[in-house]
């Protein structure tokens, strides 16, 4: 048999599941499939064997643009010194209620 890697691998899909209505879809994992239809069938078998979901999204992994961890500082640090975006930044008298 051909024991070389055969380059015939199915593309990877990421799977997102909504566990119940009212909640968002969450990433649960990934799988290989030839096309989106097969990805959907496999996701159902692999990730919802015990009623884990009521809705599934599959998306081919190559279509996801991810942020680069090496650029995390420039992306996320600017939010660090903006305490004025939080309610506790604003001083109000303690006797004040419901605000």
């Amino acid at each position: 048999m051909n024991k070389e890697t055969d380059k015939m691998e199915y593309p990877i899909f990421e799977v997102f599941i909504r566990s119940k209505n009212g909640l968002e879809h969450r990433h649960v994992g990934s799988l290989h499939a030839a096309d989106p239809e097969m990805a959907m069938e496999n996701a159902r078998d692999v990730y919802t064997r015990r009623q884990e979901g009521v809705s599934i999204w599959v998306v081919e992994s190559k279509n996801i643009t991810a942020s680069n961890p090496e650029k995390s500082d420039e992306l996320f640090d600017p939010a660090q010194d903006k305490v004025y975006r939080h309610p506790t930044f604003y001083d109000l008298p303690i006797e004040l209620k419901h605000i």
Partner: protein, 318 residues
């Protein structure tokens, strides 16, 4: 050079602070390689583990036992898939991993190189083999590499059904006719020592352990996990009224643990090296599955390509 050292130190301090490492983060090459080896080995074990159990699906004694075993074997396929996916985040393809398995470059748990000779073996595997696996896997839910830890959380949730199913089978046999009880005892006799071997070599003979603990890949050593398994399992065997096939097993008040006998390490290394009772049979079965699946993968890909083309041309036409 000094940049490399700084990166290493920075990485170690992230680990020490209890941070999780995600696939795109910088990591030492050895951390990456160790994970690829360990996770793929774990995935292969799930997939090869389907073979000894699948052997009894058509001969399960009742429909209840059959649906349970089918569901369990299906879970193992899922577990293999979660783990392959986790390993793939480190830059190795599924196909490369499969080829490593088939060519013997990658190992899988040596326990699956023992045959399942009777129905009681399915009980013993669920109780002992899944029991041993759970101890290891619960520890791994807190491992430092994010995708591996997440796969483990999912697996642990499903695995406890496997162990309870196995123990229930043993319970049924142990409380059954003298012949059934003898079957259960025989299965325990054959699977006890190989189950202890699942935790790997003694700490003194396991050169990777120290680094793995430092990187929080493992949080306990092989010997610690093995002791934990013995302590949990001995009372369970007593409850079944079965006898442990190790005369050295005895409660040690001073240590607060059960003492137990020495594993036959020659047998362990023989099986690891490929000379166990079923090594060849297992790899032959996986090779056959790959060969028989080739035309299916080809057809599915051709179908997908054709469909995509068709969608494209209808778009252009409209």
């Amino acid at each position: 050079m000094s940049v490399e050292i700084n990166l290493d130190q920075e990485f170690q301090s992230r680990i020490d602070a209890g941070e999780r490492i995600e696939p795109k983060d910088w990591m030492p090459e050895k951390y990456r390689k160790t994970h690829i080896r360990q996770i793929s080995q774990h995935a292969h074990s799930e997939i090869v583990g389907m073979l000894p159990e699948g052997n009894w699906i058509t001969r399960a004694p009742t429909l209840r036992r059959k649906v349970g075993l089918l569901a369990k074997v299906q879970d193992e396929a899922g577990h293999g898939l979660y783990l392959y996916s986790a390993a793939e985040t480190l830059g190795i393809s599924r196909d490369e991993m499969e080829v490593q398995l088939l060519t013997g470059k990658a190992k899988y748990s040596s326990i699956f190189n023992y045959p399942t000779l009777s129905w009681a073996d399915i009980g013993a595997i669920g109780w002992l083999v899944d029991g041993a696996a759970i101890i290891n896997q619960v520890m791994l839910t807190r491992t430092s590499f994010g995708p591996y830890a997440r796969a483990m959380v999912r697996i642990c949730k499903e695995e406890s059904f496997h162990q309870r199913q196995g123990y229930e089978i043993m319970l049924g046999l142990a409380k059954g006719t003298p012949e059934q009880k003898a079957m259960a005892q025989d299965a325990l006799n054959r699977f006890w020592w190989p189950s202890l071997m699942m935790f790997g070599p003694r700490d003194a003979d396991s050169p990777n352990t120290e680094q793995s603990v430092k990187w929080k890949i493992k949080r306990k050593t092989n010997d610690e996990l093995r002791q934990q398994f013995v302590d949990i399992t001995v009372p369970q065997a007593d409850y079944l009224g079965l006898k442990m096939p190790d005369p050295a097993i005895k409660w040690n008040e001073e240590r607060g643990h059960y003492d137990f006998g020495e594993i036959d390490w020659d047998e362990f290394w023989q099986v690891v090296k490929g000379n166990g009772p079923c090594n060849k049979e297992r790899i032959a079965a996986r090779t056959k599955a790959r060969e028989n699946g080739t035309w299916v993968r080809e057809a599915a890909l051709a179908h997908a390509a054709k469909n995509a083309e068709r969608k494209l041309s209808t778009k252009v036409a409209s």
